[in-house]
Amino acid sequence: MKEFSVIELAKRVGQLLVSLFALLVVTFVIGRLLPTDPVGAIVGELADPATFAAMRARLGLDLPVYQQFWIYFTSLLQGDLGTAVLTGNPVVQDLSAAFPATLELATLAVIISTLLGVPLGMMAAFFRDSWIDKLVRVLSLVGHSIPVFWFGIVGLVIFYATLNWVGGPGRVDVYLEGLVEPKTGLLLIDSLLAGDTEVFWNAVYHIILPACILAYSAMAYITRMTRSFTLEQLNQDYVIAARAKGASNWRIVSGHLLPNIAVQLITVLAIAYGGLLEGAVVTEVVFSWPGIGQYMTNALMIGDMNAVVAATLIIGIIFMVLNFLSDLAYLLLDPRTREATT
């Protein structure tokens, strides 16, 4: 049994590496073939062609694409993702500053959407075609079809500008900026580590609205999927048997249903989480959130491909790792998948 797991694991890791390499090649080639480069953004539009050419050479953009790729790839293996034109910093340094902001937002959003979405989906299934089911369906349809951008602005108008319940754009009120030294980059954690409760509460006050808005769009998906998984199970013999034995609804859910849909749910949650990390782009712009989405958008605008390729890779890695982990969870939680692959 153990031997099998190791082989299986190695195979999956191998697949992961191949996919990452493919992602790297595609992103890099698209980036270099686009008729856009960051030179104009650096030297300014009134500079002479000679200055353009000199800067292009300094950035190595005058070399053939395969050579540029080789240089990029070999430095990547040493952990060097190049320098971002956008900021003049090593890309790794930029990403380690921007990524935690996105991670914090997306993690909170996935927690909120799971805590609300799973019970709502189950309730909808239990009370199929009742008003609860209909309400849940409408809620998820709205969450799925209305753009996050719109929700963001409307959310700000209502909860920030009118009701004053939450903070505005940004991670904290601006006069509290720079008071907490970033250790993890996750402001909620850093402020607690520093013992600065004012910054902590201010950060909570600021993150809650964007997190809820992101959570709502993810919740739509989680609710729908949970509903259909639950419906499928409700017709199974073991549920009917449990009912016949007089088990309560709660007992059915916690003792029988949840373990049976857990595997599928984990996949759905992993996809939702990945989607949140990647889909935070629009939310980050509306809420002036200095995360990876905004970083990538601005890099793309000036043709800063080092930054774009690196950010794409990070998001790609996360997606793949999440997939990988949910596959592993399959193997661990569901004995049938193990038997099926032997």
Binding site: P38, E45, A47, P49, T87, G88, G168, E177, S288, M301
Partner: protein
């Protein structure tokens, strides 16, 4: 027991945090100024490199220039140079006795170093002075230190003293601390890599933190020669979404917003507690026509286009606070500006001109623009206007890098750039529109607006040069008028459409903030009153 104490501890912590949770959040403190802006284009804080508009306000508060000019009156004022004398061959500057934020004294060597690195880096920032013969080969002989506190800049034969002073008053003329910068030189870069993200100035503030696309945080410089500022901190907050910025301004979370859309600016019109400052930049929104294109090489066609655009209508509906119609490249209220020609939306006349040029059935062109407000809307409005005279446009949008590259490579039919006045005088404004020493493809003068339009203006270029070197102010003014008339008569391929304004909205709590035409607004004299 252990379990119990853990819970007790957690409970106590939570209770403590709840008790100190400041649920009533205050407005911005009186000693901090918060500016909501877009930092997306702020790529370098090196003053001899970063020319982007939003960068200028940061530079203006961190660095001193030799001289500055008053935004309202255009009058030259001392900054690092306490005084100066203009003679026949050059300008002598006497520096004030002060230090950089680092503690190093400000010397003539710093001024020479700063101007030298401007031309040696030879980027866009140097363009305004290169026109006059200051460049990487001549700078060492033209800019010299007479003694520790005296700098001498020789005039070339194509510039007068006043114009030189104006061009040095831009952000590119910022004086950097050469001792500090020289510590950070790598690969002969004149400290560029380091200065991009660090500062070494003598201005009223110092850079405390720059986190790109998020925040620029300045702190008061206690050693500033002008005395310490009432503001302890100035924060530039990146708020890319205009509606979000509007809400923040309304709520008092930011004091000034300078990157709002026309609609969001209008929202504050007449609203109590806010002031709209429509800063006139002296620059223009321009319609660049490629005179290398067969139809567009014909002045009659260009004239038809000039009569085919509804400037007034577009100005009111699209530009609003961002500009006003004007087809002469000198802003209407500047000294020596001539009357606007009768170019207005006259489709019948435009059609006649097209027929006369041999295009009775019109033709098709593309128009390229940066995908950014208000230029995209401007492009679609021009598309609708020109359709009425038989010219069918297809609009192509792109990011800044793409569109500028196409413009530089003469790879366009029509394109919508914007520009700035090289200095706040009629001749300074004309610079971008009447400068093209060599129109040949080989000249590859891609930094030049007129060259990009392949518009050959030998005669006008000669007149501009004559005007620039004329020392008699009366004759200079006459030549500037003649140049404008010649420009209008030539059916320009670089057609000014609208004067370009930068509207900013300021919370009335803020006193003493008035926007500078080149965004070189110093805030050390700004004060704030208590929030209501």
């Amino acid at each position: 027991m252990k379990q119990f104490s853990k819970r007790l501890f957690a409970g106590a912590t939570f209770a403590f945090m709840m008790s100190v949770s400041p649920l009533a959040f205050a407005a911005t403190p009186n000693d901090q100024l918060v500016i909501g802006t877009s930092l997306a284009q702020v790529l370098s804080l090196d003053p001899q490199q970063g020319t982007e508009v939003k960068t200028q306000e940061i530079l203006a508060n961190v660095y001193d220039r030799l001289v500055s000019f008053d935004g309202a009156t255009s009058e030259l004022q001392p900054q690092l140079a306490e005084s100066w004398e203009i003679d026949e061959t050059g300008v002598t500057f006497h520096l004030r006795d002060t230090t950089f934020a680092s503690g190093n004294p400000v010397t003539a060597a710093d001024v020479v170093f700063s101007l030298t690195r401007l031309f040696k880096l030879d980027q866009s920032a140097a363009a305004g002075l290169k026109t006059f013969g200051y460049n990487k080969d001549t700078v060492e002989t033209l800019v010299t230190a007479v003694d520790d506190k005296t700098v001498r800049i020789e005039l070339t034969d194509s510039i007068v003293g006043e114009a030189l002073l104006y061009r040095l008053s831009g952000g590119v003329g910022s004086v950097v601390d050469s001792v500090e910068v020289l510590k950070h030189v790598a690969n002969d870069d004149y400290g560029n890599e380091w200065l991009r993200t660090n500062t070494a100035g003598s201005g009223p503030f110092t850079l405390r933190r720059w986190s790109p696309n998020d925040l620029v945080l300045l702190e008061a410089n206690p050693t500033f020669w002008g005395g310490e500022s009432a503001l302890k901190r100035v924060l530039f907050r990146h708020v890319p979404e205009s509606q979000a910025a509007r809400l923040m301004l309304e709520r008092g979370d930011i004091d000034i917003a300078n990157a709002l859309t026309a609609a969001d600016v209008r929202f504050f019109d007449g609203k109590e507690g806010f002031v709209i400052d429509q800063v006139k930049t002296g620059g223009f929104y321009v319609l660049a026509m490629n005179a290398g294109h067969e139809a567009l090489s014909n002045p009659l066609v260009r004239q038809a286009i000039a009569y085919g655009i509804d400037y007034e209508g577009i100005g009111q509906t699209i530009l609003g606070p961002y500009g006003q119609a004007r087809n002469v490249p000198v802003p209407a209220d500047w000294e020596g500006a001539i009357e606007n020609p009768d170019w207005s939306f006259q489709p019948e006349k435009a059609k006649e001109l097209l027929a006369e040029a041999g295009y009775p059935n019109g033709f098709s062109l593309t128009i390229k623009t940066i995908a950014q407000a208000p230029r995209v809307d401007l492009a679609t409005a021009i598309q609708a206007n020109l359709a009425e005279i038989g010219i069918n446009l297809s609009v192509q949008q792109g990011n800044g890098a793409d569109i500028v590259a196409a413009h530089r490579a003469r790879d366009f039919d029509l394109l919508l750039p914007q520009n700035s006045a090289a200095d706040p005088t009629a001749l300074g404004a004309l610079d971008n529109f009447t400068n093209n020493p060599d129109n040949s493809l080989e000249a590859n003068n891609a930094g030049n607006f007129v060259w990009r339009s392949a518009w050959d203006i030998t005669e006008m270029n000669a007149l501009r040069q004559e005007a620039n070197r004329e020392r008699d102010p009366v004759k200079r003014a006459e030549l500037a008028v003649k140049l404008q008339e010649m420009f209008v008569a030539s059916s320009p391929a670089v057609l000014p459409l609208f004067e370009r304004f930068e509207p900013i909205v300021v919370n009335a709590r803020v006193q003493g903030y008035s926007g500078h035409p080149w965004s070189l607004t110093r805030v050390n004299a700004v004060t704030k009153t208590d929030a209501n």
